[in-house]
């Protein structure tokens, strides 16, 4: 963690806490958060090297094995064309994760820029920028994403960007409030008094002190983005059919819901696990920032 952040809590409590030993810190990590990291790491590994986790082909199926329930050979069963659902989930992880990464990056960069400029410049610029943010907040995120999709068209990159646009407002608000908060502290004033220029102060003092809050929001947005991307994929605005995208897979499995529960239930559980983990990690980052 950044050493700068501890100064804040130290001034509040009035005493500098002793640095916890490695063992003590290990004990402080709760099981849930560790599990959350494990889930995310597995999903990342799936995205980076799907071949290590499954030998089956995610697109070509074995017709003779169509609609087989989960067993030792097919842990998640097979779909109507005999494709291994587990292999499709593994290969699909790259679509969801890279999409979520793009979305968070778009939201983070655009939002932080808007918020930081609004918070530092102030005055009319701040008013205008924050009203823009108000407009973004006034439209439900799904409708905002749909508005972007209707302009840009369908596709994996398009929906990732559309989901990112829906996250801009949250980052902008956070960045602005962090800039305003940190700017009011004594040491930033001291940095100015010491001859620091605006950008230097922003880079060296405001940014490091806001990192925890930004990281917590980014993790939260990552989970939200995976959820939103799978929703847009389910609605059919993402990648076209043979692609093993999680939302699309669930949409395709819908027709067999009466007979083949595994087609929708198991990919959905994977989505829930990843989103839940991202939220859990976000909460643990936020807690550390406050502690």
């Amino acid at each position: 963690m950044n050493p700068n952040t501890s100064t804040r809590s130290a001034t509040v409590t009035g005493s500098v806490p002793a640095r916890p030993s490695a063992l003590e810190r290990l004990r402080r990590v709760d099981v849930g958060t560790a599990l959350a990291w494990l889930v995310v790491l597995v999903a990342v590994a799936w995205a980076l090297a799907p071949g290590l986790f499954t030998s089956a082909d995610p697109v070509a199926g074995v017709a003779a094995d169509a609609l087989r329930p989960p067993d030792a050979e097919y842990p998640f069963g097979t779909d109507a064309t005999g494709r291994d659902v587990f292999a499709r989930v593994v290969y699909g992880s790259v679509h969801s994760l890279s999409g979520a990464l793009i979305a968070v990056t778009v939201g983070l960069v655009a939002g932080t820029l808007i918020g930081a400029v609004a918070g530092t410049v102030g005055g009319l610029v701040e008013d205008v920028l924050m009203r823009v943010v108000d407009v973004l907040l006034a439209v439900p995120s799904l409708l905002l994403s749909l508005s972007v999709v209707i302009v840009l068209g369908f596709g994996t990159a398009q929906i990732a960007f559309a989901v990112g646009v829906a996250g801009v407002a949250a980052f902008a608000r956070l960045a602005r409030s962090e800039v305003v908060r940190v700017r009011a502290t004594d040491y930033v004033e001291a940095a100015y008094a010491g001859g620091g220029r605006f950008l230097t102060v922003l880079w060296r003092h405001v940014l490091p002190n806001s990192l925890t809050a930004v990281a917590a929001l980014a993790a939260l947005q990552f989970g939200t983005a995976i959820l939103a991307i799978s929703t847009l994929g389910f609605l059919g605005y993402g990648a076209p059919p043979p692609t093993p995208e999680w939302g699309l897979m669930i949409a395709e499995g819908r027709d067999y819901v009466a007979t083949s529960w595994w087609l929708t239930t198991l990919p959905g559980l994977v989505v829930v696990a990843v989103v839940l983990s991202a939220n859990r990690i976000s909460a643990s980052i936020a807690r550390r920032g406050r502690a």
């Binding site: 439900p140 799904l142 749909l146 959905g268 829930v272």
Partner: protein, 313 residues
Amino acid sequence: MRYVLRRVGQAVVVLFAAFTAAFVLLQAMPGDAVMIRFENPELGLSPEQIAALREAYGVDVPAHRQFLHTLLGFLRGDFGYSVQSGTPVSRMIAEALPGTLLLASLGFVVAVILAVGIAFLSTYPRLSWIRGALRALPSLFVSVPVFWLGILLVQVFSFRLGLVSVIAPGPVEGLILPVLTLAVPISAPLAQILVRSIDEVYTRPFVTVVRSRGAGHHRVLWRDVAGNALLPALTMAGVLFGELIGGAVVTETVFGRAGLGRLTEQAVGNQDVAVLQAVVLLTATVFVLINLCVDLLYPLLDPRLRTKAGAAA
């Protein structure tokens, strides 16, 4: 009074900005929707016919006049015509609205019941052994894809247990699963804020005072804590409304129900810009109005905010 005026002014500015953004994004983009639809060579329209169509849709005039025309139209409740079907958008929305209104209001009621139930049960002393599980529920609820939840409910209640028919269900039976699907994600943020504010109210000195005078858990919870804890939930009203509309898009699509959400989903599929624009702007308007009401009502409900010093804190 100045606060009220400023707040109303702010709301109007946001709505105007939302309209402008929607106009610029959706209408003034290169190659307007009318051209996309009618320049298709299969239709075999002559350039003169296309020009006539463009005039009928009002896209042949300069952008600033189009802007004024559309703005005045929106203010009168005229949202133009669907590019796909040629029907007035206002009529399409009026037809879709009742279905969604019913679904959303029932979903909201169920969500409130769920949230209040979770919040109060998780602070109930005798249930402390499942407190952890109860408190984990909201974070589970927000992590569940709505469309997946809908399918799962159909799977369990219709196909496994055979409790709710999905093939030609009655009007009430057909509402059960969609309402539940919509309610679960809405209840999560509400439950979270309730749990947090109940915990917060319990730490206040006055609760200790009431307790020390011999009040039991129930009396403290219902007479002293509940009222104070519900107030912060009011600030969520606008966000919850947005979630309801977003949830309706997915829920109505999954269950094949007619309504605003389905209309929106089809508009995106058909590139029907006029319909989506109307839905987006109507939603934004209601959101801004709800927040305006909450902001104006809040000081009346919370006396601490009536003074300048309290409002600043």
